[in-house]
Symmetry: C2
Subunit: 331 residues, 2 copies
DNA sequence: TTGTAGGCGTTATCAT
DNA sequence: ATGATAACGCCTACAA
């Protein structure tokens, strides 16, 4: 049988109100009853029913994390950051993904908010539209978006422009002037920022931007990288390096295909990826890439959202984290 | 303002009881009121408060997933399986990990159950003791354990013995008689099973089991693989192949180190891993390995737990899934 | 310092 | 077919 406040109250000879106050560490309780109540609670192995508590307090004590796709190692890594910080926090994490769902992120969010399932949400998604993000602001549930800069919503993101510029700078410093750029257009804003960083770097070094050196890919997969390199390889005069904001798996595919076609990396063609996934260290030559501080983003996001929920913060906050350029062998 | 049953009831000129019945699709409601109520609900953008509902029905409509460590790609993959099946299911997934926590899996489970946070739990963990698992059985909340065979609890797992035997068989069929085996003892039962499969295979082929060819490693990381290969390389007479139940990252480390020491893979030393992680395709030569049906395990687990929660299943069920031997270049 | 009483939003059991 | 009413377990004024 499940034990409730009332059970404890009866045994202790007090009312459930008193027991409640003891359990919640409220002041103005005599030491004697406090001790007695706690003792009995322990004996009975009492745990408060969080649902009843939630109804009374209008809090669910849980935070929703909405992710586009658990298959993405980026997303998982941010989630790890969230969870490991979440350790010391009394909120439960509810996980939602939207891939293959008929509900959009914002619809899902709205429903969760209205159903009072969650006290706040962290949205990890680069693909929502600005318009959709407005729904997040309109609900009375705090939310923060990760990996995407966003004017009128809390957000934590990296400086993609700078990360991409740094990578391009590096290639240029190695003497490259013909640098292909492989992006993933459907990933929206971050892609644009990275592309801009690439352009900025070229411009700063007086290298003309050539739209024909920009290649588009659908997803961050190895086969896509292999395929795109075949196209890159046909460009005349030959490019000597490839920067791959689309992601490390594409970059790895490019390396594989380039080697297969007899090129030496990085001598004949240098490659720089984006993300720093585990496989980046495995491929040969190992992949030079732009690392995003994923754990830190998760960490910051959960702290921020808790502060919001508990009213310690108000107003819109933005946190920009730096990328880190990881030099390995491929460039 | 949040809209409740009562709000709808007032506008519709009925009581909240009636509205409740409409919302829940109960029979014996006149078409007229049903339509009217639904219309108003829609206008007001009503969503039921799941917490209040939970209190009344004594159900939280959520399932806990307890994982040892989100850093493990195995765990994440199972989680993916859970989530993608979870799509069509009205249960919410709450994620808990226990790494660095002072609560054990079973304590956490007990608390979640008693707090009525969850209607059922999926435990992905190979490291809990049999004893601890008893706590799971004792609570009145259904639970299922993934990746670990377990007598008196529902479970879904792979036939590790067979998977390991198959891998070993393959190496033997390639003419190897001196096969090192790299395990991770701290991972308990599955490790033992894999080791047993390795032994069985040797025995069936009349090859003496040599304990000195068994190496232990702490975690599934590349550096651990590199380190252990240095030891393996010192064995005289030289081994010609390595089977790595400890996991693919260790196997990849072994390949790297072996190449560094001038060996050709698989000619001088064949390597077989365990898990089939993404990087297995990336390493050169690509890694022959034992794939576990992770998505399927997740899929089965969530279906099973929902069936249990809803009383469609009772009694202890076990599901054994087959491993799949993936032949690539490293063996 | 403790008890009383009402409410949180739903569901469910009886009546009507 | 619908309405009253009492749970569900906890919290929180307010009263004593």
């Amino acid at each position: 049988m499940t034990v409730t406040l009332k059970d404890i109250a009866e045994r202790a000879g007090v009312t459930s109100a008193t027991v409640s106050m003891v359990i919640n560490n409220k002041p103005n309780i005599s030491d004697a009853t406090r001790k007695k109540v706690l003792k009995i609670a322990k004996e009975l192995n009492y745990y408060p029913n969080v649902i009843a508590r939630g109804l009374a307090t209008k809090k669910s004590n849980s935070i929703g994390v909405i992710v586009p796709n658990l298959a993405s190692s980026f997303v998982v890594r941010v989630l790890q950051g969230i969870k490991s910080t979440n350790r010391d926090i009394e909120y439960t994490v509810q996980l939602f993904d939207t891939v293959g769902q008929n509900e959009s992120e914002s619809q899902l969010f709205q429903r969760m908010a209205r159903e009072r399932r969650i006290d706040g949400v962290i949205l990890i998604s680069s693909t929502v539209t600005e318009e959709d993000l407005n729904i997040f602001r309109d609900e009375s549930v705090p939310s923060i978006v990760v990996a995407r800069k966003c004017e009128n919503l809390d957000s934590v993101y990296v400086n993609n422009e700078q990360g991409a510029a740094e990578a391009t700078d590096y290639l240029i410093s190695k003497g490259h002037t013909s640098i292909a750029c492989v992006i993933s257009r459907k990933h929206g804003l971050p892609t644009e920022e990275r592309l801009q960083g690439y352009k900025n770097s070229l411009m700063r070094h007086n290298i003309a931007f050539n739209p024909e050196l920009v290649f588009d890919v659908d997803d961050d997969t190895m086969p896509n990288g292999e395929e795109v390199f075949r196209k890159i390889h046909q460009v005349k005069p030959a490019v000597t390096s490839v920067f791959v904001p689309a992601g490390d798996m594409v970059a790895i595919g490019i390396i594989k295909e380039a080697k297969k076609e007899g090129l030496r990396i990085p001598q004949d063609c240098a490659v720089v990826g984006y993300d720093d996934i585990p496989a980046a260290e495995v491929v040969e030559p190992s992949l030079t890439t732009v690392r995003q501080p994923k754990l830190e983003m998760g960490d910051y996001a959960i702290n921020m959202i808790v502060d919001k929920i508990e009213g310690r913060e108000s107003g819109i906050k933005h946190k920009e984290l730096p990328t880190k350029f990881i030099i390995r062998e491929s460039a």
